[in-house]
Every structure is written in structure tokens, then in C-alpha cells.
Amino acid sequence: MKADQMTSSRSDTSLDREIEAMLAVEPSPEFVSRVRKRIAEAPLSGWTMGWTSLAAGSVVVAVVVAVVISRPHEVVQPEAMMPVARTSMQADTPSDDVPASPNLNSSKSPERYKPEVSKAIVREPQMLINPKEAAAIRRFLASPQPERVELSLIKIEPQPLPEFTFTPLPTFDPMVVLQGDFK
């Protein structure tokens, strides 16, 4: 058994030595200098690549951040909300500008105002604002405002108080409860 193991390990060692000898090949003396030359000839893309990719990456990140930051402002802006009210009003009541006609609600009408807002923005206020209320507010705002009234110029004459007449209150006799009344 031991002899087998020894023979096996010896053959392993000799095999390893053979492989080592087979691989003991040296590159030519010019090999390293040729590698240097090739690297020197190649543009330093390796070094510059990092910087360019970093710069491109930072530009992309900046654009994404700018888009993300600017998006909430678009939703809050009152300009974006106004057309919503206008559309809801148009849907409910005929506008003063556009004459009422059977084609008013049809999408083919060329005069119809088409707000350029996203669907998310359109839907949300419709749930929150009653279209009739929105129409009423809009009508109120559109109506001509009366001129300012100077209240200090208005004089109110004191009116005489009506004459007070005393009327006597009615009097009642006290009630007398007898013992046998609740039996």
C-alpha cells in the first residue's frame, strides 16, 4: 500500500516537473518593450475614459435632478389649474365666448380649448372641485366688478324710536290641591 502511494507521488512529481519544463518558455527580450510601445502608441483612452465617463455621468445626473425638481412646480402652478376649471365649466355650462351648439362637447370642434396638461393633473381637481362651483366662481370673476363705494360719504339720519307702551302682564290665582284629588 505504502509502495503504491510512493510510486504514485513520485509519478505526480515527475509529471509536475515535466509540465513545468514544458512551460518554462521565456518570451523574447523585446516582448516587454513591444508592450510598452503598443501602450504608448494607443491613445490614453484608459486614463481619459474615466474622466469623460465621469463627466457624462454627472451631466446625466444633473439633467435628471433638474427634471425631478422642476416637476412638482408644474403641478402646483395656478396656470396649470386654471384650464382645468375652464374645461369643467365648459363641460357643464355653455361658455359666453362660444355659442351653445349641439357640437360643443364634441372633440371635433376646432375652437374648443384644449389644455396642455397631463391627465393626472386634469383628473385630480375634478374630484376636488365641483364643476358647478368652479363655473360659478369663474363667472363671478369674469363679471364686471362694481366701482369702489366710499362708505364715509353715506350719511344715515337717526330714526326716532317707536313709542313704548306698557301692557300689564296677566295674573293667575294660586292652585289649591286637596287630599282626595289623586285617589
Binding site: 509540465i19 512551460l23 518554462a24 518558455v25 518570451p27 523574447s28 508592450v35 503598443r38 501602450i39
Partner: protein, 178 residues
């Protein structure tokens, strides 16, 4: 501002110089390793040099993230092996392969030389017949007298796995050589 830019340029230049120096050190240290890995596949010095050169060029372009020595050597072995395999597949001049290495220490007489050449050719055929994962272990263990730990580091494998693969490879080689 101008002074600051100049200082920044100087810093970048010195960093680049440092990298160049480090790469030069790695090149000198690992050139034989890359060449031999390529040679073990291609069996042709010229082709092996070409492949090793290509591998170094690739490693140069990625050297920023390969500054660690072990990482660099691991990457270099892998890329050289892959490039050599690709080269072998596409190479139509296989017939021009060198039968044996130019310099061997076991060629004292012409008769022995012929026997050794025949034996080496047989062994190469056996190595070529091994599956890739066993072949790379045998080759790396045979290069520069790498021990198990070094082979494990280069292949990023546990030492036990390398040992068992080496054992299996030897067994297979012996079978093929008989």
C-alpha cells in the same frame, strides 16, 4: 484661479505618472506569467506574445481599477486565457505550432531529445484534452512553480477546490498518457 488650475493639472499629471509607474512594475512582474498562460494554449511563442501583448493593452485601459496586485494578476490570467482560446479557435495556422518548447533542460543527447519531444507532444495532447477548469489549474501550477495558494488566489477559488482539481487533472493525465 489660474494657480489653482495649474496645481490641479500638476496633481493629475503626478497621479498619472504614479499609475504609469505602477503599471510598469506590474508589466515587468507579470509579463512571463501572461506569456506562459498564452503559450500553454497556443504552443507558439509568436502568437503567445501577441496575445499577451493584447492582454496587457486591455489591462492598461482598465488599470485604474486593477491597481491591486492580486486583482491585476487574476484579471490578466483570465483575459489572457480567454484571448488565447479565442485566438486558437480562429487560428488557421495550427499546423505551425511548435511541438516543444525551445529551451528544455531534459535534452542531453539527440536520442533522448527525440524521446523527450515525443513525450512532451503526448503530454500537451493530454493537457489539451482536459476540461478548461482542470487545464487552467494544471497550467498555473506548472508556471513559475506556483503553489496551491497562489493558484487559488489567481483563480479566486478555495484552496481545497484547487487541490481536488489538481488531483483530478493528474489522474486524467496519467490515464491519457498510458
Amino acid at each position: 484661479m489660474h494657480e489653482y488650475t495649474e496645481r490641479l493639472d500638476a496633481t493629475a499629471f503626478s497621479m498619472e505618472q504614479d499609475l504609469q509607474r505602477e503599471f510598469e512594475a506590474r508589466l515587468i512582474e507579470s509579463s512571463t506569467l501572461a506569456f506562459r498562460v498564452a503559450y500553454s494554449v497556443l504552443r507558439n511563442s509568436e502568437n503567445a506574445e501577441d496575445v499577451a501583448q493584447e492582454a496587457f493593452a486591455k489591462s492598461y485601459s482598465s488599470f485604474r481599477r486593477l491597481r491591486d496586485r492580486d486583482r491585476f494578476r487574476r484579471w490578466l490570467v483570465r483575459i489572457t486565457w480567454r484571448l488565447a482560446i479565442n485566438r486558437l479557435r480562429s487560428d488557421r495556422r495550427r499546423s505551425l505550432r511548435e511541438a516543444v518548447p525551445v529551451e528544455t533542460s531534459i535534452t542531453p543527447t539527440p536520442v533522448q531529445s527525440i524521446i523527450a519531444q515525443e513525450r512532451a507532444a503526448q503530454l500537451w495532447r493530454a493537457i489539451d484534452a482536459l476540461p478548461d477548469k482542470l487545464r487552467i489549474v494544471v497550467v498555473l501550477a506548472g508556471i513559475e512553480e506556483h503553489d496551491i495558494r497562489e493558484v487559488a488566489t489567481l483563480l479566486r477559488l478555495p484552496e481545497g477546490t484547487v487541490k481536488s482539481r489538481l488531483f483530478l487533472a493528474r489522474q486524467r493525465l496519467k490515464e491519457l498518457m498510458q
